[in-house]
Symmetry: C4
Subunit: 206 residues, 4 copies
Amino acid sequence: MSTGRIEAFSDGVFAIVVTLLVLEIHVPQVQGPDASAALGRSLIAMLPKFLSYVLSFVIICIWWIAHHHLFHLLKKSDRGLLWLNCLFLLCLAFIPFPTALMGDYPRERIAVISYGAVMTLAGLSFSGMRYYAFYVADLVRPGVDPALLKRAMRRSLSGPVLHLTAIALAFFDTRPAIALYAAIPILFVVPSRLERRIHGEDHSGS
Amino acid sequence: MSTGRIEAFSDGVFAIVVTLLVLEIHVPQVQGPDASAALGRSLIAMLPKFLSYVLSFVIICIWWIAHHHLFHLLKKSDRGLLWLNCLFLLCLAFIPFPTALMGDYPRERIAVISYGAVMTLAGLSFSGMRYYAFYVADLVRPGVDPALLKRAMRRSLSGPVLHLTAIALAFFDTRPAIALYAAIPILFVVPSRLERRIHGEDHSGS
Amino acid sequence: MSTGRIEAFSDGVFAIVVTLLVLEIHVPQVQGPDASAALGRSLIAMLPKFLSYVLSFVIICIWWIAHHHLFHLLKKSDRGLLWLNCLFLLCLAFIPFPTALMGDYPRERIAVISYGAVMTLAGLSFSGMRYYAFYVADLVRPGVDPALLKRAMRRSLSGPVLHLTAIALAFFDTRPAIALYAAIPILFVVPSRLERRIHGEDHSGS
Amino acid sequence: MSTGRIEAFSDGVFAIVVTLLVLEIHVPQVQGPDASAALGRSLIAMLPKFLSYVLSFVIICIWWIAHHHLFHLLKKSDRGLLWLNCLFLLCLAFIPFPTALMGDYPRERIAVISYGAVMTLAGLSFSGMRYYAFYVADLVRPGVDPALLKRAMRRSLSGPVLHLTAIALAFFDTRPAIALYAAIPILFVVPSRLERRIHGEDHSGS
């Protein structure tokens, strides 16, 4: 089984999820003589929704890049990888719901934890897919540096670890948890850039 | 007519259906001093919706894999197959509605039966497509083992048979019907794995 | 400019439109002691919505096949065709709205006329694209039989003519108009099959 | 990194955004003895929604053509371009929200300004991507005329300039602002056609 068909299907899901996020942002319904001011206030009150849209969009883009990077390293696919990929897509396709939930209830612990939980599950299923492809089934193209696999694996796990940390924070206060969610894309991208500069690589899974 | 264009169009529909399922899960609207507890209760009450999301997602993935397996066996396509495929996609694209219906009314017989009915129709149209390609129009690549076609055909029909059984159960009680719906993906995947091990095959339409 | 990129983009829009149709069918909200019966009645009352879903699905499939047939005849594309195609996609992507409108108000003249009007516009823009490619810009591959182009052109116009007839009927009574809408896919497919049998062709834009 | 995967992902997002626009147009809910007249009045009152649908559809088509034109000029892609493209897609995928907002509140300054602001951001991120590819990272295929790049760059900036002008107008009156929004696609297409005729080119980014 070639990797092409899994990549095309996954790319479709990535593109659709990223575009569906906006459908959870509804136009506020205001009426009456004070409509202008009410519309302005409604839009300002929707700020958490806009932020949670941007946040999910960026994280899904990071996963999209990492997904391509992973499949670029593989020489073939098998049924195990196919189902692990379906598990990852199941979590990925679910993201619009916790994104909207946290956007509507940024002060509610359960909403903020739900967001982190779905992100953790998506991250873990992605890590599982990487682990399976690298170390369980022999799917990696010959000649790939084992140190590169190890770094990709470590990077893959840093996402779930950070999201779990944010969930732990949310039990005390939702604000630092959201701040950490917002920082994760930055924490994710910057070290890999540094690392790349050190190692002089030209290709990396974010 | 090559099979490439049908596959690409079907893959698009598969990817979109699987991703649209989440749009039927709406963020609960709670207010007042008791909002935190109400939100928690609402999310717990939404459990059937989450389960029916997972269920439909997995079954659509099974069909996606089976669809690729089918077209992999064909040397070409014709107008009959094209329209049978459209009929299958019509049922497939309709799945988000009964999924949401059963998620909202897991105790209502008509909702549980509707879910099974759409799944049965989708399964039958898929079986019809397989039957047409294998035995009516001569579309199979030369050299494919007839025993393989027979097994694929039988497997294809086991889905509708199981869904019809679940519908019959739903007339007495919706809970065992839902339990059977949930068991179908497992019943579908496990025997084909066993069978594959016995026959030593490397490729199968689940 | 090759035709590949226009085809891929159009195929994406076709696959999405066909899948979005179901989102306009909302799960009925019933409550109280009489919920089971109310749910059953609601689903039966939704029959026009289901029929209008099937109707639009089939017509979009017919266009999808015709679109591929058209581009299969072309040797290249140009900016004029690109924009005529965008105009067609604009009408196509709008179809979910009149489909839902007619599904909600099958007895209202304006709803039934709106449906036919959008279908007429989509059909005319498709015919315009065909006319432009065949007779205005010289985009047809060499060696294509002019009689084939003429038949495709005539078939292309039969859709708008039939939809306009249905609109005219709707001014008197919406029921025969809807019946004609439902008959159009059949009227469209059958003669082209007959014609193909007579001419012994193997390829046709339905 | 080849440009193919970025183009396929972007094409997916383009096709989905353009098709999702219609989901923001909801079927009006009317009842009672006066339903026919009420439905007619509702549909007429929805005219701004239909216009804002057409407007956004056409502008996204212009960007789609320009996007292909840009990537057609490039020999390769890099991580910087990848992230600038993600930023552009983030703005692009957000368009259905301000489109629906302006469609619902065409007389409200904040709604009309929001529409222009998102269009300006999308346009600027597109210009940034062009600037980066042309002048920062050396991504252009050898042999491309620098004058062509300069014209594409200038054309790219005319969009944001026109949208900012419309925003400025909206502070005084929303009607001329909307008129300018509607004129932008025309202002965009016509000069580039003229220019192309003068320079005798056959390919151009809108």
